[in-house]
């Protein structure tokens, strides 16, 4: 078993494409999308093969010891803190590896078509490979700093890809926002590491899991880790970056902002589930935040008109589902949903990408419609994704999502309110997804004449991944999770069945309502409600934190720095100068005055000796 290929292949892809790109800037010859995309895709496919191979090797190990560590090199070692660059494969990371490399390969392939006309595809593929490299590091790292390496790395790649078209300040701003909000979450990660180092003495996950901490610290650690996850996985309070992140190329949204990176929060919670589950407070906070996020972003999604934004809010909402799974102590379900979600959400994003590609960068769903005929492959694969996210049996989402719903009620940490919120979120999910499907594919066309004519189905490089993912969305749930298939079966017990039925029925009702409402839409809808603006949370952040920081900084710069510190320096100089000028006053030029001052001084000295303090000098 050698894990290094797994991560090295994307790295090489990144380096080769990077060098190709830099060379192209010197001799101004474009590297074709086929070449660079080919390199990147091959790297990813090989990496996928390695992941698959390692997955099967891991399966052959006995159930208790399904763990493989590979130390690449010692990283840093100082005064009792020793961290190595170790890759660790266990069932959890194995699943994530498969998802990342698998979905990743498909999206790479898709990108060849999507980025065909881009000016510098080599740069794009380099970034994409870099992302995969970092993401693999994230899931394979055996220690917290290693995970953090990947954690920050994916943030970086996400930044680069969101702001890929950096001529547009808005896109640049979106990237910046994503990166900064991620970094805010990272404080949690960092402090969690400090706590772990202080109280555990090691940053290895196994060590951390095996060392019992006092309850207070456990809660703190868990909450800090969760805070980090809210950043990366776009949960309340740090979720507003994800919709903006849609500024990047659509395959990027599919890969990073739907399938992989945003789920790293779930990965981290799963990785540290021992610690998380040791504290009921942490769990309830996670569940509450997850549920709220799921519900609120579902509401927002219902009001969106941008196809990618709808999907983005949907992602946030689905991530909320996963967090609820973690929050009720049933991480497995969360991870399961990560996998299925990766399939169907990637599929939907790629489908959306296909639509956008076909419509020449049109993203408003009210300017689409009737594409079922024109884009049949896209439509049918999209329907598969739609069915999966609605949780219709036997599509993959059905298994994972219902599992979460069931657990939110049945688990020891679950409760009725939680369950109801989740059901509502599921209802809304079905509503807005159907709305999307209807508006884009089924309703009458609202496209402009010129656009309508040129619409055509995407090339094979793009539709092939769609079809593969479509199949995965259908069958992805059947296998269950390799980690714990039995548990899934067992959990779907008596009341489980009722919940399943209820949720499916609810989804169908919602879908019906949506169809009724939007099936006949013929004109552009003007929605200007608060939900559409994300309840103004983003605006609030911007004005409160963004401008707040700016104002504080300006205040510091003007008041403290200029008025206090610099002025203090100036005053010191002025005081010295002034005292010089004052002392100079004595220099009047008149001999009499000089003599007078001199003799007064002499008199003072003598008098002091004779009458003043000097009395003690006599004996």
């Amino acid at each position: 078993m050698n894990l290094s290929y797994l991560i090295l292949l994307p790295l090489f892809g990144f380096l080769i494409n990077g060098v190709l790109y830099l060379r192209s800037t010197r001799n101004s010859k474009k590297v074709s999308a086929e070449l660079s995309g080919g390199i990147a895709t091959v790297a990813m496919l090989l990496s996928f093969a390695a992941a698959l191979y390692n997955f099967f090797l891991l399966r052959q190990l006995p159930a208790e010891g399904q763990l493989f560590d590979q130390m690449l090199f010692p990283w840093f070692k100082l005064a009792g803190m020793s961290v190595d660059f170790t890759l660790r494969l266990d069932p959890l990371s194995s699943v994530f590896c498969l998802v990342i490399t698998g979905v990743g390969s498909l999206i790479h392939l898709y990108s060849i078509g999507y980025m065909h006309h881009d000016a510098a595809p080599a740069k794009y593929f380099a970034y994409l490979n870099l992302f995969c490299f970092m993401m693999l590091n994230l899931v394979l790292g055996a220690t917290m700093p290693h995970v953090f390496f990947g954690w920050e790395g994916v943030g970086l790649a996400s930044y680069l890809l969101i702001g890929y078209w950096y001529h547009d300040p808005e896109k640049v701003g979106a990237g910046m926002k994503a990166f900064v909000m991620n970094r805010i979450g990272d404080i949690g990660f960092l402090v969690a590491m400090f706590i772990a180092y202080k109280f555990v003495g090691s940053l290895d996950f196994i060590q951390i899991a095996n060392t019992p901490l006092n309850p207070e610290m456990t809660t703190t650690l868990g909450l800090l880790v969760f805070f980090a996850c809210t950043g990366k996985s776009a949960q309340i309070p740090l979720f507003t970056w994800l919709p903006d992140a849609m500024a990047g190329p659509t395959p990027v949204s599919a890969l990073i902002h739907a399938a992989t990176m945003v789920t790293s929060g779930i990965y981290l919670l799963a990785r540290m589930h021992t610690t998380i589950e040791a504290s009921a407070t942490t769990l309830s906070v996670i569940a509450a935040v997850g549920a709220c996020t799921a519900f609120i972003s579902a509401v927002i999604a219902c009001a969106q008109t941008d196809i990618k934004k709808i999907l983005a809010y949907s992602t946030v909402s689905q991530l909320g589902f996963m967090f609820v799974a973690c929050g009720v102590g049933f991480t497995i379900a969360g991870v399961f949903h990560v996998m299925t979600h990766a399939f169907f959400k990637a599929l939907m994003f790629l489908g959306a990408g296909s639509v956008i590609h076909a419509l020449h960068e049109e993203q408003d769903v009210f300017k689409m419609g009737g594409l079922r005929k024109k884009l049949p492959i896209t439509f049918w694969t999209f329907v598969a994704g739609w069915a999966a996210i609605l949780g219709l049996p036997p599509f993959s989402g059905f298994f994972s999502k219902d599992e979460i719903l069931i657990q939110s009620l049945q688990s020891p940490h679950g409760s009725m309110p939680l369950f109801l919120v989740m059901m509502a979120a599921a209802f809304l999910t079905a509503f807005y997804m159907t709305r999307l499907l209807v508006l884009v594919f089924l309703s009458p066309s609202r496209m402009g004449q010129g656009v309508e004519k040129s619409v055509h189905e995407s090339p094979l490089v793009m539709t092939l991944p769609l079809m593969v993912l479509g199949v995965a969305s259908v069958v992805g749930g059947w296998f269950g999770l390799p980690i714990h298939e039995a548990h899934v079966e067992e959990a779907a017990g008596s009341s489980g069945r009722f919940i399943m039925l209820a949720s499916v029925a609810l989804a169908l009702v919602a879908a019906f309502i949506a169809y009724k409402k939007y099936g006949k839409t013929t004109k552009v809808e003007q929605v200007n409600d608060i939900a559409r603006e994300g309840f103004k949370i983003d605006a609030f952040y911007l004005s409160f934190f963004g401008n707040g920081t700016k104002n504080v900084a300006r205040w510091m710069g003007n008041l403290i720095e200029q008025q206090v510190i610099q002025r203090m320096i100036r005053w010191t100089v002025a005081i010295v100068d002034l005292s010089g000028n004052l002392l100079k006053v004595a220099q009047v030029g008149s001999s009499q005055a000089y003599l007078m001052m001199m003799f007064l001084a002499i008199f003072a000295v003598l008098a002091w000796f004779l009458f003043g303090v000097g009395q003690y000098a006599k004996f």
Binding site: W75, L78, Y166, D186, L190, Y197, T549, I560, I565
Partner: protein, 485 residues
């Protein structure tokens, strides 16, 4: 008590090359014709850097030469696991400083080259000396070339900044000198002999009631806090960095600030250990305030140099946090972070210089869109920015992470507050990068339009520097090894 001195090999006795070579280069530079000064300086600096690396690789060492021994002033030098990195950095920074092209090679280049090598000489003497007075002399001597550099090649408002820099530094250092005298006097009153050797004075400080050394401690603290600088002793930094010619700025940010860091490690901690513990809370708070305050100032600044100068203060706040954690780990991490900061800030200033050579106006209030025009430059710039925001994979991350890890157990609150500086750092560094690189390119004017991307030699230097940053990011053990015992 700290014990980070590696006592294994002290065989290397040829330490004087660290001083003799730059001094010789300094004197020789007066014999070189004006036109050849740059070539001479580059060749000399490369030679000096290579020699430094070679000598450092020969192992640690100590050497004592007599000077004014009857007054305790020896030329005591010692290359240990702390100083060796600073010595190497001196060589590196000298090379970068003399490499940059600018009006310093048009207007009296001899003085510039001589100043640079003199600076290297003084810096090495300061980094190596084990004698307080020798250290002080070298520490003061560093002013001289800086004054010349800023004075001759600085911007219009240079005079005020020179004075501010000089006076604040001088105030600090002379207070340190008085404190040194006090220590020497204590030693003399105990043993009857003068000694300014650090080892002797450490003995004295241990045998004396801690209260008696408080003022002396603050004397040292003031000197180094101004040099580093720590908020609120940073008043000189902005003007000096902005108005100085780029080589001087690189010296100041890259290595002069490390002189303060080094002083804390070499002198303050061993001698004033008890006082450091006593005032630990204040020290850590000051460091945390430096981090946050400077980061906020950087956010609001529109001038790239100003931004980088504040970012320097902010990052050095992390270094100081590591030192003030008063653990050997924290100190080791601080050394690592110092190296990291030197590399990153030198690269950033160098790139800024390249940019300002190509475009006059780099105000950070609009997008300049330079990245598509100078892709290589901006790739390097981006990596340097990443290093500066201490992204994992760069040595800055390891340094900062270790610093915070070691300071967390002693002061959780300050550590967490400092961590916020990381976010702010991201904000201003990315803003900095984005404003310069991103957006649509503006219509070019005049000479600007013919500006080309950086050349091969520049690229090689950048690859070397950035490679070092990344290599050390994965193999920080190269530096940390000396501190693990």
């Amino acid at each position: 008590m700290l014990n980070f001195e590696n006592t294994m090999t002290l065989a290397n006795e040829s330490l004087n090359v660290f001083m003799v070579v730059p001094l010789a280069l300094c004197i020789l530079s007066f014999l070189i014709p004006k036109g050849l000064q740059r070539a001479y300086a580059i060749a000399g600096a490369i030679f000096f850097f290579a020699l430094s690396c070679y000598e450092v690789s020969q192992g640690l060492g100590g050497q004592t030469l007599p000077w004014l021994s009857q007054f305790g002033i020896q030329l005591g030098f010692r290359l240990d696991s702390v100083s060796k990195w600073f010595v190497v950095l001196t060589g590196l920074v000298t090379f970068i400083a003399v490499y940059l092209k600018g009006n310093w090679y048009r207007k009296s280049p001899r003085i510039f080259v001589a100043s640079s090598f003199f600076m290297a000489f003084a810096l090495n003497a300061a980094f190596l000396s084990t004698n307080l007075i020798t250290f002080y002399i070298a520490y003061e001597a560093v002013f001289v070339p800086i004054i010349f550099m800023v004075g001759i090649w600085g911007t219009q408002t240079k005079a005020a900044s020179v004075f501010k820099f000089f006076l604040m530094s001088f105030l600090g250092s002379i207070m340190m000198l008085v404190s040194m005298f006090y220590l020497i006097y204590l030693y003399q009153s105990q043993t009857g002999q003068y000694s300014a050797q650090i080892f002797d004075l450490v003995q004295v400080s241990k045998s004396i009631a801690p209260e008696r050394l408080c003022l002396a401690f603050f004397g040292f603290f003031l000197a180094f806090a101004i040099k580093v600088p720590l908020v609120p002793f940073h008043g000189w930094v902005r003007d000096a960095y902005v108005n100085a010619p780029m080589p001087a700025t690189i010296y100041m940010s890259g290595i002069l600030s490390k002189l303060g860091v080094f002083g804390f490690i070499r002198f303050v901690l061993p001698i004033f250990w008890d006082q450091a513990i006593q005032y630990h809370g204040i020290l850590v708070t000051v460091a945390a305030i430096s981090v946050l305050y400077a980061a906020l100032l950087a956010i609001q600044s529109k001038n790239p140099r100003e931004l980088l100068s504040y970012s320097s203060i902010s990052h050095l706040g992390f270094v100081m946090l590591g030192i003030f954690s008063l653990t050997s780990g924290g100190v080791g991490a601080a050394v690592l972070l110092s190296v990291a900061h030197t590399l990153a800030s030198v690269v950033l200033f160098m790139l800024l210089h390249f940019m300002s050579e190509r475009k006059e106006d780099l105000t950070l209030d609009r997008f300049h869109g330079l990245a598509p025009r100078f892709p290589m430059l901006f790739v390097a710039f981006f990596i340097a920015v990443l290093a500066s925001v201490s992204l994992p994979g760069t040595v800055n991350f390891v340094g900062e992470f270790l610093v915070l890890s070691f300071s967390y157990p002693v002061s959780a609150l300050c550590t967490v507050l400092s961590s916020i500086g990381v976010i702010l750092g991201t904000v201003y560094m990315f803003k900095f990068y984005q404003y310069l690189g991103f957006g649509s390119p503006n219509p070019k004017t005049g000479a600007e339009s013919v500006a080309k991307d950086i050349g091969v030699f520049e690229i090689s230097i950048l690859i070397f520097m950035l490679g070092l940053i990344i290599y050390l990011g994965f193999q920080p053990a190269v530096i940390l090894r000396g501190f693990s015992s």
